[in-house]
Structure formats: structure tokens, C-alpha cells
Symmetry: C2
Subunit: 282 residues, 2 copies
């Protein structure tokens, strides 16, 4: 489909995206752009990219430019790219927050060539070594503010994600950021805080390691996620995240109160209410 | 190894245990005891057990009796069983709390035939349909207060768990309950509270369902766990759980403070500290 694609960032998301493009024969040649020489070299070695170039040279040669870097640097880098492109090129990002980016871009004369996307897939690992084959399949991909982009650009991006096995959900970037706070950002904060709880109070690390079953591992797994990715997400989505975090603390206080008062009925009610998540998460 | 084994309770743990005994040729005949006729019938249909009997008849016929029921009923049921057994029989439980049970049993004249165990394996599902083949393998099994049991009883129980692929960790029941609060009980409370947070604030359930990626699912998965199992666990381990829960709330408050003050350095520090969990959880 594309002769040449550039991925900006050569990490978990961009790397897995590049692998998928190749597997699905959607790109002949993939250029990697990275601030970190070691990562670029690693991505080349792993066969994720075919060539490493500086941003301006890479963009010039590419039909499609895919930006997957921390959300704080996404804004200046995408703006820089928009200054370089022509009317036939398409740019998309994969960031976890969308509203600030949308605001930063909306007055750019080329903004219609940009498509704001958030594929709802990831792992707690980062860097080119974290890239995996078969990522994205079966998950939703959010496309934000599609009406602000050219129809043909949106269609191209949707087509790629569908070829990767994703289904498309369209919404505006403001709604996206609220939902993302619930279904992703709070899970990460909970998991980070749980790790800190255990590390603070449980000095016998050997015991944690020996005893932790699947339950602990699955709730604490996200705590391995990189600060360089998540700090900018939490800062950009600060108000929504604070809203959800306040609610989460108040929900935990209900468990605390039920235990302090040995109120078995209340504790049961809290758990049975939580069980309703079965309706939503199969 | 055994001619006849009784499992008391025919759910996730006991059912998976029975399946494993059969697979490893550790039991010729397995009797199921259940308060719920429907569950007993289902366990028979699924081939988990060979026969259903009332507790007294089952115990009389059995070399080994394995109790895996909610921890509040474990105490009276195990005491009842201890009144029926002889010096050649062995009894073990699989409960998630150990200290209260140990105290309740220690003055029973037959207490040396009882082995207190906690296999660190489970899922969020319950009932005989939740029983799976190949459970337990690769996980730790805690044996508590082994010095209070007959050596030969401990050896038999350890042998069984090892045949199931578990490795044995010995500790006293008081330590067990502290560690369990950290590596299991708090994860469940966090997950229940997270489910309640999302259900309370996020009214657009369709959006949760559409957007939830792997991260949300793994942190909220335990929220499907049954109140009938977890309320008694939290109540029996109330003081340890409250200790850890207070710490967890205070860790969440640190994230809240860092966001409220837009303190990027502090937020980064909190996340990087949480990343140390990588040392412990591979």
C-alpha cells in the first residue's frame, strides 16, 4: 500500500506497528526516527525498520508518518512534521491523550492531513525490544475529531488499523481523555501505588517473590511501566485523572470503613457491586 | 497413592485439586462433599468427583480429606472432621487465612493429623465449572505451623503438592497472614474498589467495554471474585488488611498531591520507585 513509511519513535507501539505493517504487506520500506541512537540501532538489528534517518529526511521520503513517542514531545514533533509535509502525505499519532494535541494542531494550515488515533493496546514494557508481532489485533482503536481531518486521510488510517485486526471507535478528543482516565490511566496509578505500598511495608522481598500468585502479578504488572511515558500522560490529563483518583480513594475508604466497623453486610454489598464489572469485562 | 480422598467443597480450588490428583494418579476414588446439591451434581457430571456423600460417611471412607471452602466455615467443618478421624487419616485445608484456624485447632486432641496449607493459586471464578486441569503448577504452596502436625502427615501433604508442580514454603500462620495481606488480599480490595470507581463515575458502559485494553482488564479482573469467599478472608485478616489498606490509601494520596501541585519531579519519583517491583515480579 505505501512505498515508504516513517515511524517516529522506535519503541513498543511504533515498533509493533512497523512489524505489523510489514506482515500485512502495507509498507515496502520503513524508516525509523529516534532521539536515541542506541534504540535506532537496536530497531535496525531487530528488523523493525529498514533505515534510520533524521526527521526531515525521513518525512520527505514518506507517504505516511506515524508518531508514537511520549505525549509531551508528541505536540512539538507533530507540529514540526506538519510544517514539512505536502497534501498527499498523511500523519497520525498513537498517544494516550488527545485533547491537548488537538488544540495545539487545530490552527495549523496542514492540520487536515493529521489523524489523531489511540490504539487501545500496550504492555508494561518499552523500547524496540518490547515490540511484538501480532499486536493490536482484537482491540479497539479510537480515532478522535475525525471531522477535522481530510476524509481520505481518515480512510487510509482506518484501513491500516482494520488490516491490523482492530475495530474503529470514533469520538471527540475531550470524551476520549475522560474515558481513557477511567479505562487506562487510573489502572496505572493504582498499580504504581500498589507496588509502592508493598515495597514500603513488606520488607521481606523474598516472601513477596515466593508467595505472589497470579492475582498480585496481574494487579501490579502495570507498575513496571516507564515514567517517561506516563508522567506526561497524567500531566496532560490531570483534571480527569484527579477526578477519577478522588473517586477511587473514596471507594477504598468505604472498604476501610466496612472493615473498621466490622460491617459484614456493607463489605458484602461493596464486593457484590464490584462484581457488576462482569457485565462489562468478559 | 490414596485409595479414597474426600474433597469438602467442590469449587475452584477443591475441584482443580481433585482433577490434579486423578491426573497424577494420586487417588483412585474421589468423594465430594457439598452443602449445595446443584454443585455436587455438576462436579459429578464434570468428572471432578466419583461420588457424593454426606460429610461423616465421606470422612469414614477416606485416607485423606481436603477442605477448600470459605474460611469462616472452614473452622467449624475442620473441627467436625477432626472429631471423626483416626490416627492414620490426614486432613488439610486450602484457606487464604491461617492464624484463626490454627488457634481454633491447636487444642484438639487429633490436631497433629491436620496440615494447614495455602496453595498460592486461584482465579476470579468459582464453582465446579471453574475447576481447571493443570492448576497449581509452578506456584508456591505455603505450609503453616508444620511443627504442630505429625511429620508423616506433613510429608504426605508436601509430596502431593510437589507432584502437582508446586514448591513448598514453610512459615508460621501469623507470618502467612501478614504476607497474604500484601501479596493477595490488598490486590483484591484494590480491584474491587477500582471496579466500583469505574461503575460509579463512568456511566457509559459501552465506552468501557469498547475501550478497555489489557491494562484495565488485568487490574480489574479480580473484581469478579465472589463475596462469599472474600468477605470471610478480609474479616479474619482484618488487622493486617487494614494496615496495608491504610498504606495503600496514603500512597494514592501521594499521587494525588503530585498531580494537584503539578509536581512533575515528585510524580516521576513515585513512578520510578514503583518500577522497583521489577526486581521482584519478573
Amino acid at each position: 500500500m505505501f512505498d515508504t513509511v516513517t515511524i517516529v519513535g522506535v519503541g513498543l507501539i511504533s515498533g509493533s506497528f512497523a512489524l505489523a505493517l510489514k506482515e500485512k504487506n502495507l509498507a515496502k520500506h520503513i524508516i525509523g526516527v529516534s532521539r536515541t541512537q542506541a534504540s535506532a540501532k537496536k530497531a535496525l538489528e531487530l528488523g523493525i525498520i529498514d533505515e534510520v534517518l533524521p526527521l526531515n529526511e525521513a518525512v520527505e521520503k514518506s507517504d505516511f508518518i506515524y508518531v508514537a513517542i511520549p505525549v509531551d514531545v508528541t505536540i512539538p514533533v507533530v507540529l514540526q512534521i506538519m510544517d514539512m509535509i505536502n497534501e498527499r502525505q498523511v500523519v497520525a499519532d498513537a498517544g494516550s491523550t488527545k485533547f491537548a494535541l488537538s488544540n495545539a494542531l487545530k490552527d495549523h494550515p496542514m492540520h487536515k492531513r493529521f489523524v489523531s488515533t489511540h490504539p487501545m493496546w500496550g504492555t508494561e514494557y518499552s523500547g524496540p525490544e518490547a515490540a511484538v508481532h501480532g499486536a493490536f489485533a482484537g482491540r479497539a482503536c479510537v480515532i478522535c475529531d475525525a471531522e477535522q481531518s481530510d476524509d481520505n486521510a481518515v480512510k487510509i488510517v482506518e484501513y491500516i488499523y482494520k488490516q491490523l485486526g482492530m475495530h474503529i471507535v470514533q469520538m471527540n478528543s475531550e470524551s476520549h481523555d475522560i474515558h481513557a482516565a477511567y479505562v487506562s490511566h487510573i489502572s496505572h496509578i493504582t498499580s504504581f501505588a500498589l507496588a509502592n505500598t508493598v515495597l514500603e511495608k513488606e520488607k521481606e522481598e523474598e516472601a513477596i517473590f515466593e508467595l505472589s500468585g497470579g492475582g498480585f502479578e496481574s494487579t501490579v504488572r502495570l507498575a513496571k511501566s516507564a515514567a517517561s511515558m506516563w508522567v506526561p500522560v497524567f500531566m496532560q490529563n490531570r483534571e480527569n485523572v484527579l477526578d477519577v483518583l478522588n473517586e477511587h480513594i473514596s471507594q477504598l475508604r468505604k472498604f476501610k470503613a466496612s472493615l473498621e466497623k466490622e460491617n459484614v453486610e456493607y463489605l458484602t454489598e461493596l464486593i457484590e457491586n464490584a462484581n457488576k464489572i462482569r457485565r462489562i469485562i468478559k
